[in-house]
Symmetry: C2
Subunit: 234 residues, 2 copies
């Protein structure tokens, strides 16, 4: 079995998506929020790219999540903070989540055997599931506007590190991601402070979100794509 | 000033090439051989993608360099080993060099302010020149068939590390590349042994080339693209 890291969605055409299970990674904050919401009993989360698409669900009884410049868009139920995805708010609900980079990565991965959602929240549960399938794994970093980012890469590295004992063969980007993770793991928050995206998010006043998204193994649910919805893997 | 690392040529459309000096990096072995050849007195080196293109220069008095499966193609003067680019062979000559990944990276960078060739051989000389220009720097890893590779990334990281004192602002991929370089620098050969490309090259029986390409600061010439030719920067 191979484990490969696709460092940005722009590189997806180079990979054998059809013969892999894809894990989509968008740590700050889409895939963290999705893992948290599914763990906390949301029936489904529908990822969309634009606020306008999200608004189209307004009549259907879904909760709508959309932000612009770090603030909840007027008329919407909440933004992209994982703190919004608590049981009291999401249990039994379908949520439409606006996330440009995450949705882009999911759309480009559609031919995969299975599309799963990963974050530090469900790291071990997801690693255990992946190892149990004996399938090739492609870890897809959503990145930032198709560019490389450190937080997604470092999570990919954490997953590579977890999969090593199951005898996966890593590619060069998996080796790099794992080494960056090993370098950062004792102080993830400190390490990621030097990244451009963290800086951008800090300016939006969401330091608490960033810090929360770096908690490891606080959930066990694995979100899986089923049609256009992310639901809990049974 | 910014320093950015483009991890593979496939990501080049995302960068502001026009406002940058581009450094093309293909450590095993094209850009190492080019630096060595220009240092050793070659008049010019013309990079081409395919053996057929290279053969087209056969009538023009150029030296032709092309390999297939690690062996010099019949009828050609030499292959891609840097050991071929010694003064006795290349002084005063124009060499046509077949290099798929390197040529690809150069072609896609053509709109840059200037295109330079980097390798461990000319690391410090090139860093000093770059810092003297006060221009944005885009380090372009040639990679392997548009995929990420470790050796080019680690050299990019070495360059980022050299440019730091000149107050360049790094992007996330520059931070990652620099950290990987710092991790690897005390034993570059050992570190790169675990990469897929090294393994592939080992099978070709060119371990000596690989080891030689990791020598730092043995040359000072900076190859620059002038039309279709790489010549020595005056």
């Amino acid at each position: 079995m191979n484990v490969e890291v696709c460092l940005t969605p722009a590189l997806l055409p180079l990979y054998d998506i059809e013969n892999s299970i894809v894990v989509v990674i968008d740590i700050f904050r889409a895939t963290s929020s999705i893992c948290y919401g599914i763990e906390n009993g949301a029936d489904a989360i529908i990822p969309v790219s634009h606020v306008e698409e999200c608004a189209a669900y307004q009549v259907s009884g879904c909760l709508l999540a959309a932000e612009r410049d770090g603030k909840v868009v007027e008329g919407f139920d909440f933004g992209n903070s994982p703190f919004s995805y608590v049981a009291e708010k999401v249990q039994g609900k379908t949520i439409v989540l606006t996330t440009t980079n995450g949705t882009h990565a999911i759309q480009l991965s559609r031919s995969a055997k299975q599309i799963l959602i990963g974050s530090f929240f469900n790291l071990t549960a997801l690693a255990d599931y992946l190892a149990s399938t004996s399938q090739n794994v492609l870890l897809v970093c959503a990145g930032w506007k198709n560019k490389f980012n450190l937080e997604d890469t470092i999570f990919a590295g954490a997953m590579v590190n977890k999969l090593r004992p199951a005898a996966y063969t890593p590619d060069d980007s998996s080796i790099a991601a794992e080494d960056l993770y090993l370098l950062a793991k004792d102080d993830l928050r400190g390490y990621l402070k030097k990244t451009s995206h963290s800086e951008r998010l800090m300016k939006l006043g969401i330091e608490a979100d960033i810090s929360f998204c770096l908690n490891t193994d606080i959930t066990t649910a694995i979100p899986v794509l089923d049609g256009d919805k992310l639901i809990k893997l049974k």
